[in-house]
Every structure is written in C-alpha cells, then in structure tokens.
C-alpha cells in the first residue's frame, strides 16, 4: 500500500511538484523530452493507452497529441486527481480512474500501450507480474526509469533502452546526465 504518499501534502510550482512533508521533488519539467519520447513509444500502435500516474500532466498531453482511440489515466493522489479531471474535461477519449493502479488493475482491461510513472508506490514490485493482464500481443510498455544504466528497478526482463542526454537540476530522484528509456514489447 502507498498510503503514506497519498496522505502526504504536495506543493505545486510551475516547474515542479514537491512532496511538502519531506521536501522531495516528485516531478519536474526538465523531463519534458523524456515524457514526449515515452508517449511516442507507447502510442506507436495507436489504440487504447493506459497511463499510470498523471503527475504534471506532461506525458498525458503528449499522449493526446498522437492518434489513439482511448486514454485511461490512473491517479490516486487526492491533490492531483482534480487536476487530472479538469485536464480531461474537454477530451472525449479520456477516462480518469481515481484509485491505486494495483487496486484497480483487475477492472482496467487490456491496452495497446502502457506508460507507468508513479511516486511513493510500494506496489510497484507487483507491476512486472501484472503486465500480462494489462497488455495485448504487441503492446508497447515503458516507465520512468531511475537507473543510470541499461537496467530497471521493476525487474522487467528483455527490454531495450534508448539513451537520452539530460541535464537535470539537483533533485532527489534523478541526477545523472544519461537517461535510459526502457522499451518492452509484448
């Protein structure tokens, strides 16, 4: 369960979201290029897209810029949910699921593309084993990758990685100059 994060207060700035109780950055706008690339990969098949974690909405915007049928967003933080709902209000193909992805996974369906980017998520250890029930043959999956080499914290095997040169400001979650965007095709 990730209750501690859900009950944590967030502070929203124009360029970041900060976990107030810990002074940790949750997400920052330097990631824009990575969000764009992640969205491009998971929408290569078009069709139905699942996005776990709305955050600043950067990747959601990029996913919408591609030709897709549906866009399901799972978000469980009470301060971000209303922002996601407001963002989706003029988008007919978006569904907001306001709960933990792990609690909702059995009712979400299957998807052609999946982008997973969460914070304070102790259920992430179940993500790899949950993919079979969320994906179709040929589905494209990526996620935020905090590793600084061709590996990932989610123990998802047989991935390829695309390198990006990045220059993040000092933060609590990623301080390398190379980002390894994981790509997994089912």
């Amino acid at each position: 369960m990730s209750n501690w994060y859900v009950s944590s207060s967030l502070t929203f700035y124009s360029n970041s979201i900060i976990l107030t109780d810990m002074e940790h950055e949750v997400m920052m706008d330097w990631e824009d290029e990575l969000m764009s690339a992640s969205a491009a990969y998971v929408t290569e098949n078009g069709g139905d897209i699942l996005e776990v974690g709305f955050g600043m909405g950067i990747s959601a915007g990029y996913i919408q810029s591609h030709s897709i049928d549906s866009h399901t967003i799972v978000e469980n933080h009470p301060q971000i949910i209303p922002k996601a709902i407001k963002w989706a209000s003029n988008k007919s193909n978006v569904t907001i699921v306001s709960q933990s992805w792990y609690d909702a996974k059995d009712s979400l369906g299957t998807f052609d593309g999946l982008f997973y980017d969460t914070y304070g998520d102790l259920d992430c250890k179940h993500f790899s084993s949950s993919l079979n029930e969320l994906t179709k043959n040929g589905s494209k999956v990526t996620w935020w990758n905090g590793r600084t080499d061709e590996s990932n914290d989610l123990n998802i095997p047989n991935c390829t990685y695309q390198e990006f040169d990045v220059n993040p400001p000092q933060n609590t979650y990623f301080n390398s100059t190379t980002y390894y965007l994981p790509k997994k095709e089912f």
Partner: protein
C-alpha cells in the same frame, strides 16, 4: 561561565541517494544536495529517512545541522582549562507523514560530534568526517521530545578537548563547529523503508542563530586544572609506552 551563541553561519545540510544509506552519508568530501542557512527554525534540522520514490527508485535522505561557535575571545590563562561545557539546542520531534518514527529511546536523541570549519553551503555536508568516512569524536547526546523545548547536552571529555583547541585562537582558528546528527546517521544504521513494515526514521526540528529567543548556546565553565606533580619510579624496560607523540622510556618520569 561564558555563554556563546551559534554564529550566523549555522545551517542544515541535506544529502540524498537512490543507491544506499552509506552513499547518502557520504564522506569528508561529499557535497550535499542542498543546504538551508539563515533559518530561524528548520523542521528538517535533523532528518534520517528511507522512502519509496519515483517508480520503484527509493530514496535515502539525511539532514545534518552544523553550529559554529566563536571562541576567539575566550582565552585561557596559564593553568586554566575547560572544566565543563553544555550545548543547548531548542528542538522538537516532528511526527506525522514523513516524520519521526519512534523506535527506541535512542531514536529520540540528538547526537553531537565535532566538525570541520564551514563554508556555509551544501559543501559543508561532509564536515562531520575528520577524514574519509571517519567521523569526528562523539561529544554526547540529549533527548528531544514532541514538545518544543531546550535540550541541554553535557559535552564529554572529547568535546572539552575539542573546544580547548579553539579557545582564544585568532580568526577562523577560534571557531569551533559542532555537528548535530540523528541516531541512524550517527550510528551508521540504515532506516527501514517507510510503509514497508519496518519503518524507522528521525525528524527533529532545530532553531538557529537567527531565532530571536532560542539561539543554540554553548556554555563553558573554565577553571584551574591540576598541576600536582606525579612521580613514577622504577619504570622497567618492559613498560615502555608509546603514544601518538610521546615515547616514555624506562627510567624516572615526572609530570
């Protein structure tokens, strides 16, 4: 008993790591990820925690505070030394989300150690280490509570020796810096992951020199030290003693 308040260069420093607790602790040369100088009070004065972060990448976080004291005006006369000293910190344990998780009584304590001179920024993070990953000596500890109040810590003999080296010295050589650490950082014990079933964390708010009414204060008592001569007779060859700087050989030795 002269009282000395912390210099305005006092500060809290932070380092984080997604690799390990020891990586977050760093070494003498580690520059932290951030610092907070000029605060009147900082809820993150001392912080030791391990939390789930971004998509499976977990984060170790350590905050340490440093308090410099100008002792240049406190010269010691011949035959005088520091008899005792206390450091008073105004502190409060912060509970709640991302806060202090009481494990044992030791978790609630503030731990003091010596520190190197400050640059007043994130580069000061590793100053609690005298070299490499060897910390300065421990000077003692005092228990904070969830109610804000003074924690008076009596410095041990290592603390007194440390302070003595700065008494009456000119310029920067007269400023003694004391580090305040949390239990898990001081004892090199990695915290349990918050929410993972073995939570352990330390979060203690501290006040700093800019606080009008609760400044960190060092109280020093000086006085005559023993000058009584002690004579040791008949030291045999087998009793040769070697210290860092003195070799005592067989014969007659008089202190």
């Amino acid at each position: 008993m002269p009282d000395v308040t912390s210099d305005t260069a006092d500060l809290a420093t932070r380092n984080t790591s997604t690799t390990s607790w020891s990586d977050a602790q760093g070494s003498e040369t580690t520059t932290g990820t951030s610092s907070n100088a000029g605060a009147t009070v900082n809820n993150f004065g001392i912080y030791n925690i391990f939390t789930a972060g971004r998509t499976g990448t977990n984060t170790f976080t350590i905050n340490r505070s440093y308090f410099p004291f100008d002792l240049s005006g406190l010269g010691l006369s011949a035959g005088e030394g520091i008899v005792s000293a206390t450091l008073t910190l105004h502190a409060q344990i912060i509970t709640g989300t991302g806060g202090h998780t009481t494990g044992t009584a030791a978790h609630d304590k503030i731990y003091l150690r010596g520190a190197g001179p400050l640059d007043n920024g994130a580069a000061d993070y590793g100053n609690v280490y005298s070299s490499g990953t060897t910390k300065f000596a421990s000077f003692g500890s005092g228990t904070a509570s969830t109610t804000a109040g003074n924690v008076v810590i009596t410095l041990n003999s290592d603390g007194l020796s440390f302070l003595t080296g700065f008494m009456g010295q000119a310029g920067a050589s007269g400023t003694a810096t004391i580090a305040a650490l949390g239990f898990l950082d001081d004892q090199d014990t990695a915290p349990g992951l918050i929410g993972g079933g073995s939570d352990s964390s330390v979060k203690i708010a501290l006040t700093y020199s800019n606080n009008a009414s609760n400044k960190p204060t060092l109280s020093i008592t000086t006085g005559a030290v023993s000058t009584t001569a002690t004579t040791y007779n008949n030291i045999g060859d087998e009793q040769v003693i070697k210290t860092n700087t003195i070799v005592i050989k067989a014969g007659l030795l008089k202190f």
